[in-house]
């Protein structure tokens, strides 16, 4: 039975979600073989997200059945405030099953999804916003260039037919550095690399703003989208743990709903995969998990202006003061509940 007054009903404000949520999935079943460096790579990803995202956001991790050591590390990162919400699943639900579980209920206006092996670079969000502002009707915006494998990857069926003179379309082969990095990061070589060297990328330019984008409909490794758009394509089909067919479903749905699917023309992300490429070591060395980036809550406590609140915060500074407040709280509770 209820005893006393529930202080949670006394008008305390609950946390209000930020405009942007960044979501990732972690699956590291063992820390050997293919997954030997995966935890380290995830932490680099996390540091890059924290360091290069220029506005407040909620960072949500879905652990899709990783081993105990990895879960413990995630719990520790949650405790330190680097992760805002951690979802632990005993079973591997597959990528789409996990995304179904996370994405539908996020109240954030914007959602960014990224695989946990993606390295974020400075400017990724700023450039994505520019595309959103210059090309109305964006469904998904990727911050890296992705080469299309299938026709469906190109998306933007209706946009390609637009007669709006503000938009100028062109085609081009990938610039050499872009092609090299793309293939290197994915371990692509030989015939397939040559195929990509010659591939035609579809570019669009807004002549009013000068902003350019690639029409690329397959940014599964990372995308930015409005929550309301994502809710229209859920649930994603659940099946194989990792399969290109599953990714294609979301591209098709975005296209069928006549949303634009664009990417930046430079890569503001790097696919780290399962090992740290020597080429990105200088970038990695510039990253660190800085506690100052996540101590916003403590600042908030100190921001309230009333004198009584300031007095409480002042008393709470010391161990003795905290003890006294706790005792006072407990005594008051006992008085009112007896």
């Amino acid at each position: 039975m209820r005893k006393g007054h529930n202080p949670a009903k006394s008008g305390a404000k609950s946390y209000q979600s930020k405009r942007l949520a960044i979501v990732t999935l972690v699956y590291i079943p063992v820390q050997e073989g293919y997954f030997e460096q995966s935890l380290e790579i995830f932490k680099i990803h996390l540091a890059s997200v924290r360091q290069y995202t220029p506005e407040p956001f909620d960072y949500i991790v879905f652990d899709n059945g990783s081993c105990s050591e990895v879960k413990r590390e995630l719990e520790s990162l949650l405790e330190k405030g680097f992760i805002d919400s951690l979802i632990l699943s005993n079973h591997n639900l597959g990528k789409t099953g996990a995304l179904n579980q996370v994405l539908g209920g996020l109240p954030n206006e914007w959602i960014c999804y990224a695989d946990s092996d993606m390295l974020f670079r400075p400017g990724w969000l700023e450039e994505s916003w520019k595309i959103n502002e210059s090309f109305p009707g964006c469904g998904m915006i990727g911050a890296q260039v992705i080469f299309p494998d299938w026709d469906v990857d190109r998306g933007n069926t209706r946009f390609r037919k637009t007669e709006d003179p503000r938009y100028v379309f062109s085609h081009e082969k990938p610039p050499q550095p872009l092609w090299e990095e793309y293939c290197r990061a994915r371990g692509i070589n030989g015939e397939r690399a040559e195929f990509y060297r010659e591939i035609q990328l579809d570019r669009v330019r807004n002549v009013d703003t000068g902003i350019e984008a690639y029409l690329g409909g397959n940014s599964h490794q990372q995308w930015l989208a409005r929550g309301e758009v994502i809710r229209q394509i859920l649930p994603l089909p659940v099946g194989l743990q990792l399969a290109r067919e599953m990714d294609t479903y979301q591209d098709q749905k975005i296209d069928q709903l006549n949303y634009l699917h664009l990417t930046t023309t430079s890569s503001y992300l790097y696919h780290m995969g399962n090992s740290i490429d020597p080429e990105i070591v200088p970038e990695v060395n510039r990253l660190k998990l800085d506690p100052d980036l996540v101590n916003e809550k403590n600042k908030k406590v100190g921001q309230k202006k009333s004198l009584a609140w300031k007095a409480l915060v002042w008393i709470d500074r010391t161990r003795q003061g905290r003890k006294m407040l706790r005792r006072l709280y407990n005594n008051l509770y006992e008085i009112f509940s007896s």
Partner: protein, 319 residues
């Protein structure tokens, strides 16, 4: 860069979640004052689910920024495989924020939601499922009858009045002891409860051989996940107190809100004491008697002391 093939790409099947996800929302910011016994309450709640739930289900627990001791308890249960999905939030998202994640993210087709202070009796899930699956267009089923607000089940009554083959009756169909037990657990006085009981009828609905009481509660309910999707996401700026939005919206859309005829769950609130109604009556009347004599119950004293109590909580809460 990627070296080798990701072995996950060779896996041809993924785990298939149970049809029912039992979802518990937990919030225990510290283990003193109002929350002194809450870890025991949580243990009793989860224990009653493990003990008294038959049929396949997955258990999902959403922890809304509890203290480390509580999170550790949940992590241990998760590691033991007694909790299939555990969501840990570093900040309290309020009930609305938690519901957003639970009601959209629960992997099962049916969500059996409950606050963390609910004790389940044997048969709770089967009996609730019967109502959910037999009555048409059901929005919510709660696993015991108690007094709920009429305006939140008006559409259920309307449906019953307009549907042939449905028998609708108004009267006192909830036994006094069942009614009393639950409302006492909410901290109401016996006087208040009796007044409610005598001044309000409950609504009994018979359909296809099953009987239910009209009404349901956001506190504990079963629902088809797909039917609740339209109400998401909720926007609530306080941790508690705005939850009636769900009851209201479900009713407004014409979906049925039903309760089982028998009590299959009980509210524990913040203590694990669930004495018989007679014992509770005694303690509640003692409280009433005391209230006339104590200085601290006079508004002039009580108000500032409660303000201090709430302020200290907020200080802890925001950390």
């Amino acid at each position: 860069m990627r070296i080798g093939q990701n072995p996950a790409k060779f896996v041809k099947e993924v785990a298939k979640p149970g049809r029912v996800t039992v979802a518990i929302l937990n919030y225990i910011p510290f283990l003193s004052g109002f929350y002194a016994e809450m870890l025991d309450v949580l243990k009793a709640c989860l224990g009653s689910i493990w003990e008294n739930t038959s049929g396949p289900y997955d258990l999902l627990v959403f922890d809304n920024a509890s203290c480390p001791e509580v999170q550790q308890y949940l992590l241990n249960r998760y590691e033991n495989g007694q909790i299939q999905y555990l969501i840990l939030s570093e900040r309290n998202l309020g009930k609305g924020g938690a519901w957003n994640m639970i009601l959209s993210g629960a992997p099962g087709e049916i969500v059996a939601y409950s606050d963390n202070d609910c004790f389940f009796y044997p048969g709770w899930l089967e009996q609730s499922l019967k109502l959910l699956e037999t009555f048409p267009n059901v929005g919510m089923v709660t696993s015991r009858p108690f007094h709920t607000r009429e305006e939140f089940y008006s559409q259920t009554v309307k449906w019953a009045e307009q549907t042939s083959g449905v028998r609708l009756r108004f009267g006192r169909f909830i036994p006094w002891e069942v009614y009393l037990e639950f409302d006492l657990s909410l901290g109401q006085s016996e006087e208040e409860i009796r007044q409610h009981y005598e001044s309000t009828d409950s609504v009994r609905i018979e359909y296809q051989g099953l009987t239910a009481i009209a009404g349901a509660s956001h506190y504990q309910f079963l629902a088809y996940k797909s039917r609740l999707q339209q109400f998401l996401p909720f926007s609530m700026d306080r941790p508690m107190g705005q939850v009636k939005q769900l009851d209201q919206r479900v009713n407004e859309t014409g979906m049925l809100r039903l309760m089982t005829m028998e009590p299959y769950m009980m509210n524990m609130s913040n203590t694990i004491q669930m004495p018989r109604a007679a014992d509770l009556l005694q303690s509640s009347s003692q409280t009433v008697a005391q209230s006339h004599t104590r200085l601290v119950d006079r508004a002039l004293v009580k108000k500032p002391l409660l303000a201090i109590y709430d302020a200290i909580f907020k200080l802890y809460y925001q950390k």
